[in-house]
Subunit: 290 residues, 7 copies
C-alpha cells in the first residue's frame, strides 16, 4: 500500500479531474470557434470579391473563382493549424519540444516542398498578371504551343503537333506570348550575283502590292527591306509583312510561293550553290586541257 | 558509511520508486493509446475514401489505393514520432539537448534527404493530377518511351528500343505527353526548282484524298500546307495529317512512300543537291574548253 | 456539485471579466492606432517626395509614382503585421509557439518566395537606376526587342517579329541597351585573291564619301578598316559606319547593296568558293587527259 | 588562511564527493545499458529480418545482408551519440553551449557532408528498389557499362572497353537499364531514288524470314517498318528486330551484313552521295561543251 | 462599478504615468544621441581618410569618394537600426517576438537580397583592387568593350559596335583586361604545299623588318614563329607582333595586307582548298577517258 | 568618498578574490587535463590501428598513416575547442552571446568553408575506398592522366603530354579508372561497297591469328565483330582486342598498320569518299557530252 | 511634484552613478586589455614562425609573409569583435536582441559574403600548397597564361597574347600547371594511302635522330609512335618528343617543318582530300563519255 499511495493521491486529486473537465470544455469551444470563424470568413470573402468585381479592376469570372478558391484554401489551412496547436497545448504535450524535434524532418520537408510553394506563388502571379490566357500561342522553357489550361501548380500547353506539355509553374521563368501583338512574316529570297539588284527589287515591290490585296490577314502592305546578306553564292533579299497574330506561317508560305513564281516569270535566277574550279596537274602547273 | 549515506538516501527514497512506477504506467498508457489511435485513424481513413469515391471526384481505384497507403504511412510515422518523444520525456532524458545535439547531424541529413522528400511530393502530385498514366507515351528529362510504372519515388519509362529508364520523381520537371491528343504526322517533300509548284500541289492534293480513304488512323483528311522553305537546291513542300495518338510515325512513313511514288509517276523531280561549277584556268581567265 | 466548483470559481472570477474588458479596449486602441499611423505615414511620404522632386535628383513622374506605391505597400504590410501580433498576444495565444510551429511551413514559403523578393528588389533597381526605359531596344537573357513595360515584378519586351517576351525582373542579370549610344553598322565584303587590294580600297573609299552625303542617319563618314581576314577563297575587307541608334540594320543593307553594285561596275570580282582539283587515275599516276 | 577558506570549504564538502561517486555509478550504468541495448537490438533485428524473409517480400539474400548491416550501423551510431551526451551531462559540461559553439563548424560540416548523406540515402533506395543488379548493362550520368558492384556510397560500372567508372550514388539521378526488357536492333538501309520501293521491300521482307530462322536471339520475326526518311541522295528504309537483352548489337551487325549482300544480289543500288552539276562559263551563259 | 474598478485602478496608477514620462525622455535622449553620434562619426571618417591619403596607399580621388560614401551609408543604416530597436523596446513591444515573427518574411528577403549584397561587396573589391578603370577595354561574362562606368552595384561596358552592357557587379566573376599589357597581333598565313618553306620564310622576315619601321605601334620587331600547322590543303605560317595595348586589330590588318601583297609579288601561292579526284565508271574499273 | 564606496566594497570583497583563485586553479586543471587526454588518446589510437592491421582488413601502410594523421588532427581540434570554451566560461565571458554574435560571420564562414570540408570528406573516402592508387591512369572531371599524388584536399594527375592537373577532391564526382581491368583496343576498318564482305572477313581473321602470336600484350585472340556501319561511301568493319591495361593505344596502332598492309596485299580497296555526279545543262535537260 | 518624484528618485539614486563609474572603469580595462593582448599575440606569432622556418617545412619567405599577415588580420578582427561585444554589454544594450534583429540583414550579408570567404580560404590553400608559383604557365577556368600575381582574393594570369585575366580564387576549382613537368610535343603527319608505311617510318625515324642532335630543348630522342588513324584520305602517323617545360610549341613547329621537307625530298606524298567521282546520266545508266 505504501508504494501506491502517491499514485492513489495523484488519481484522487479532485483538481485533476476538474482540470480535465475544464480542458475538455475549452477544446470544444476551440473547435466550435474554428468552425464559426471559417464560415464567417468565407462568406465575407465572397462578398468582398463580389463588391470588388463591380470596381474597374475587372477580373474575369474564371480568374476570380481561382483566386477565391486559393485564398479560402490558405485561410483554412492556417486556421486549422492554429486550432491544432491550441488543442495540443491543452493536452499538456510540450509543443515546443515536438516542433523542435520535428525540425530535422521539417528541414528536409521545407527544402523539398519549396518547389511546391514556388509553383503556387508563380501560378498566382501568372493568373493575376494575365501573362497569358487559355488559347494563346506561347513559348515557355523551350516548348511551344497553345495554352490549354492554367492551374495553380501546373500549366498545360498543346504543341501544334499534338503533344501536351505539362509545366510546373515554378519552372516558368520567361514567357514569350505570340498572341498579343501582330506577327511579322519574314521571307528571305536569294538571287544570283549576276542579276541586277534594282530589277529584282522592282519585281518584288510590284508583287507585294498584289499580295496585299489578296490576303486579308496582312495588316499593312508587305515591305521590301533590302540586301540582308552577301552570301557565298547568292545575294539575299528580305521581305517582311505584318500580319494578324499567328498568321505569319501561312502568309510566309504564300509569299515564298508567289515570289518564287514571279522571279521565274521575270527570268531572275534563284542560284544554286556555286564553285569555281581550277584544274591542275600534279606538277603544280596549270593544266592545259586539250 | 559516511560517504554512501547520500547515495543510500537517494535509493531509499520512497517517492523515487513511486515515481518510477507512475512513469511505467504512463508509458504503457502511451503505447496503448498510440496503437488505438492508429487503428481508429486507419479505419476512418478507409471509410472517408470510400465515401469520397462515390462523389464525382472519381479517382481510379489504383490511384486511390496509392493515396491511402501514402497518407497511412505519413500518419503512422508522425504518431510514432510523437509517442517516442512522450516516452523519452518520461525517462528524464533532456530531449531538447538531444535534439539540439542532433542538429549538426540533422542539418546534413536534412539537406541530404531533401531529394527524397522532393521525389515523394512530386510523385504525389503526378499521381493526384493524372499528368500521365501507365501506358502513355511521354518524354521526360530527355528520355522518351511508354510509362511502365508510376511510383511514389520513381517513375519507370520503357523506351521503344527496349531500355528501361528509371527517373526519380523529383527530377520530373517538365512532362510531354503524346497520348492525350491526336498526333500530327509532318512530311516535308522537296521538288526541283525547275518544276511548277502548282502542278506538284495538284498531284499531292489528289494523293491526300486517296490516302485518307486508305488509312483509318487519319482523323481528318491530310492537309497540304504550302511552300515551307526555298532551300539551296530544292523547294520544300509540307504535308500534315492529324492521326490517332502515336500513329504519326506509321502514317508518316506511308505518306512519304506514297508521295515519292506519285511524284515519280507524275514526272516531278525530287532533286539531288546541285552545284553550278565554273571552270577557270589559273590566270584568272575564263577557261575555254575545246 | 463538488466537481464543478473549480469551474464555477473560474467563471465567477471578477478579474477574468475585467481582464477581458481591458483587452477588448486595448485591441480597439491598437486598431485605431494602426489606422491613424498609416494615414499619417502615407501623407507624410507624399510630401517628402514632393519636396525631393524639386531637388536635382529629378526622377521622372512615372518613376516617382512607382516608388511611392512600392514604399506605401511595404509600409502597410509591415504595420499590419505588427498590429496582428499585438492583437494576437492579447488573446493569450502563445505567439512564439505559433510562429515556431509555422517555421517548417515558413521555411518552405521563405525559400519558395525568394524569387518573388528578388524580382521586386531587382525591379526596384532597374527603375531607380534607369538601366533602360520604355521604348529602348534591349537584349536581356537571350531575348531582344523594344521595352514595352517595366513593372516591379516583370518586364515586357516586344521583339521586332511581334512576340511579347515577359521576363521576371529577378532573371534580368545582364542588360544590353542599344538605344543609348550610336550604333555601328559593320559590313564585310569579300574580293577575289586575284584582285589588287589597293584598287578595291580606292573604290570603297570613294563610295563611302558618296554614301555619307546620301544618308542622314550616318553620324560621321563611314570608315574603311582594312583586310579583316584572308579566307579560304576570298580576301575579306571591313567597312564600318557610325549611325544613329538602331539605324545600323537599315544603313548596313544600303551599304551592302551599294558596295556590291560599285564593285560590279569597277570589274572587281566578288568570288564564289573555289577549289583546285587534281585529276588522277587509280594507279596513283597523274592523269593525262587526252 | 583567510583566502583559502572558501576553497577549503569547497573541497571538504562531503556532498561534492558523494555527488562524484553517484555520477561515476551512473556513468557505468549508462555504459552497461548501452552495451546491453545494442546486443539485444542487433539480435532482434536479425530475427525480424529472418521472419520477414519468409514473407512474400523476398529480398535476395545479399540485399538483405546489406540492409541489416546498414540499419545496424545507423542504430549503433545513434545509441553511441545518446550515451555520449548522457555521460557528458554528468560531467557538468554545459552541453548546450558546446553544441551551440560547434554550430559554426557544424554548419560547414553539415553542408560539406550533405553529399555523403545523399550518397547513402540514394544507395539505400537503389538497393531496396532493385533499380539494377550486378551484371546489368546500364547507362548512368553519361557512362555505360556492366554493373560490377553496388555499394552504399558508390556504384562501380565496367565499360565494354575496360574502364571502371566509379560513381557516387548521390550522382545517380537517372538510370537506364538495358537488361530488363528485350532490346530492339534498328537497322537503317538506304536505297537509290531510282529504285522501286516495293521491290526493295519484297527483298527485305524475304530476307527477314530467313534471318529469323537463323538467329535464336531474335524473339519475334524482324519487322520492316517502311520509308523512314527521304534523304538528299537516298531513300532510307528501316528494319527492326526484337532480340534478347543486349543482343541488338550482334544482331544489328548480322542484319546489316545480310541486307547489304542481298541488295547487291538483287541489283538494288545502295547509293553514294549524289550531286547534279551545272557547268557554266563566267559570262553567266550556259556552257556549250564541244 | 464593480467591473470597472480594476480598469480604473489600472489607469489611476501614478507609476504608470511616471513610467510613460520616463520613457518619453529616454526616447528623446536616444534620438539626440543617434544624431550626435552620426555627425561625429562622419566628420571623423573624413579626417581619417584625409590622413590616409597622404600615406603611400594612394587611392585616386574618385575612388576615395566612393569608399567614404559607402562606409557612411553602412554606418548610418546600422546606427538607425540600433536606435529603432532601442526605441521599440521602450514601447514594451516584445521585440524578440516581432523579430522572430518577421523571420519567415526575413528568410525570403534575406535570400532575395543576397544578390544585392553580393553586388555591393564585389563592387567594393573591384574599386578597391583596381581590377579595371574607366576607359579600359575588358571582357567580362561574355561581353567585351570599353568600361564606361564602375558603380557600387553595376558596371557599364560600351561595346565597339555601340551597345551598352549593364552588368551587376555580383556577376563579374572573371575579368579579362586588355589595356594593362601590350597586345600581340597574331597573323596566320597559308602557303601551298608545293612552295619551299624557307623561301616563304625569307620573304616574310624581310617584310617584318620593313613593317617595323613603318608602324610606331609596334613595340618590338614582328616575329616569324614557324610552321603552325600542316593543314589539309595548305602549310600555315604564323607571324606575331607585340604592339601597344588594343592596337593588335589595326596592326593585324596591316600585316595581313602587306603579307598578301608581298607573297603575290614573290610568286608564292596562297592556296585554295584542293581535292584530288579519281573518276571511275560504275563497274568499279578505272575509267579510261577517251 | 560617498561615490566610491560601492566600488571599494566591490574590490574588497574577499569572495571575489577567492573566486578568482579558484578559477585560476580550474583553468590550470583544464589545461593539464587537455594535454593528458590528447597524449593518451594518440597513443591508444596508434595501438588500435596496430591491432587492426593484423586483421584481414589490410590497409596499405601509406594509407594507414594518412588515416591516423587525419583522425589525430580532427581529435586535436575538437579537444582544443572544448578546452577553449571551458576556459572562456571561467572568465565569465558570456559565451552564448559571443557565439550567437559570431553567427553572422559564422554563416559566411560556414558557407565559404563547406568546399574545404567537402574536399576532406571526399578525400577520406577516395583513400579509404581505394578508388584509385598513385600510378593509375584515370579520367576525372574531364582531365586524363596518371595519378601522381592523392592528398586529403587535392589530387594531382599528370597528363601524358606533361601537364599537371590539380583537382580539389570535392570536385571529384565521377572517377574512370583505366588501370584496373584489361583494356580493349577498338579498330574500325572501312572497305569499299564493291568488295565482297566475306573475303575481307577471311583476310582479317587470318591476320588476327598472326597478330595474336606477335604481341604479348594481347590477352586473348583479337576478335572480328562484323559490319559496324553501312556508311555513305564505305562498309565499316570492327575489330577488337583485349589487351593488358593501357596497352590498347599501342596495340590499336599496330592492328591498324597491319590491317592496312594486309588489305593492300589482298587487293581489297579502302575507299576514298565517293560521289555520283550528274552533269546537266541549264535548260534542265540531260547533258549530252559530245 | 507628485509626478516627477519617481524620476527624481531614479536620478538621485547613488548606486546608479556608482554603477556608471564602475562600468566606465571596466570599459577602459577592456580597451587596454585588448591592445595588450594584440601586441603580445603578434610578437609571439612572429617568433613562432621564425622558429618553424628553421624546421624542414621550408616555406619560401614571401609565402611566409603572406601567411603571417593573414593570421594577424584574422586574429585582430576576432579580438576587436569580442571587445566590442563586452563593451556593448556594459552599456546595457540588450545584445542578444540586437544580434537577433541583425539576423535578417545578417542572413543576406552572410550569403552575399560567402564568395569573399571562399576566395580567401581557397587563396590560402593555393599559397600554402604551392599549386603554382608566379611565372608558371597554367590553365584555370578556361583561361591560359603565365601567373603574374597570386593574392589572397584574386589571382592574375597574363595570356601570351597580352590580356590580363583576373580570377577570384574561389573560382579556381581545377588548376592545370604546365611548368612542373617536361612537356610533350605531338606532331601528326599524314601520308597518302598509296605510300608504303614502312618507308615513311624509316624516313621519319632517321629524321628524329638528326633533330635530337640539333635541339637542346629535347630531353630524350623524339619517338615515332605508329599509325594513329586511318582517315578518309590519309594515313596519320604520330611523332612525339619530350621537351623542356613549355618548349613543345617551338619544337613542334620545328618538327613539322623538318618532316614536311624530308617527306618532300623522299618523294612521299602528303595527300590532299580525295574523292572518287562516278559520272552518270539522268537515266540512271552509266555514262559513256565519248
Amino acid at each position: 500500500m505504501d508504494w501506491f499511495e502517491p499514485i492513489y493521491d495523484y488519481l484522487s486529486n479532485r483538481e485533476l479531474w476538474a482540470d480535465l473537465l475544464l480542458r475538455t470544455i475549452k477544446i470544444i469551444a476551440i473547435l466550435v470557434g474554428t468552425w464559426l470563424f471559417l464560415r464567417i470568413a468565407k462568406s465575407t470573402l465572397g462578398k468582398v470579391f463580389a463588391i470588388r468585381l463591380r470596381s474597374p479592376l475587372r477580373l474575369s469570372e474564371r480568374r476570380e473563382a481561382t483566386l477565391i478558391r486559393l485564398i479560402e484554401n490558405i485561410l483554412t489551412y492556417v486556421v486549422y493549424f492554429i486550432s491544432l496547436v491550441m488543442i495540443l497545448s491543452e493536452f499538456e504535450v510540450d509543443v515546443t519540444t515536438l516542433i523542435a524535434g520535428a525540425g530535422v524532418v521539417g528541414l528536409a520537408v521545407g527544402f523539398g516542398a519549396q518547389n511546391l510553394v514556388r509553383d503556387i506563388i508563380t501560378g498566382f502571379f501568372i493568373i493575376f498578371e494575365k501573362q497569358f490566357s487559355v488559347g494563346d500561342y506561347v513559348r515557355i522553357s523551350g516548348v511551344e504551343g497553345f495554352v490549354e489550361e492554367i492551374g495553380l501548380r501546373v500549366t498545360k500547353i498543346k504543341s501544334w503537333t499534338g503533344e501536351l506539355h505539362i509545366l510546373p509553374n515554378g519552372n516558368i521563368n520567361q514567357v514569350t506570348n505570340y498572341s498579343i501583338h501582330n506577327s511579322i512574316a519574314v521571307v528571305d529570297v536569294s538571287i544570283a550575283y549576276e542579276e541586277q539588284i534594282h530589277e529584282a527589287e522592282a519585281v518584288i515591290i510590284d508583287l507585294m502590292d498584289e499580295l496585299y490585296e489578296k490576303f486579308d490577314a496582312m495588316i499593312v502592305k508587305p515591305e521590301y527591306l533590302g540586301v540582308q546578306d552577301l552570301g557565298a553564292s547568292e545575294v539575299v533579299l528580305r521581305i517582311i509583312s505584318e500580319v494578324q497574330p499567328m498568321e505569319h506561317w501561312v502568309i510566309g508560305r504564300e509569299i515564298r510561293k508567289a515570289v518564287k513564281q514571279r522571279l521565274d516569270e521575270s527570268g531572275i535566277e534563284i542560284p544554286f550553290p556555286r564553285v569555281v574550279m581550277y584544274q591542275r596537274d600534279e606538277q603544280g602547273e596549270v593544266k592545259e586541257k586539250a
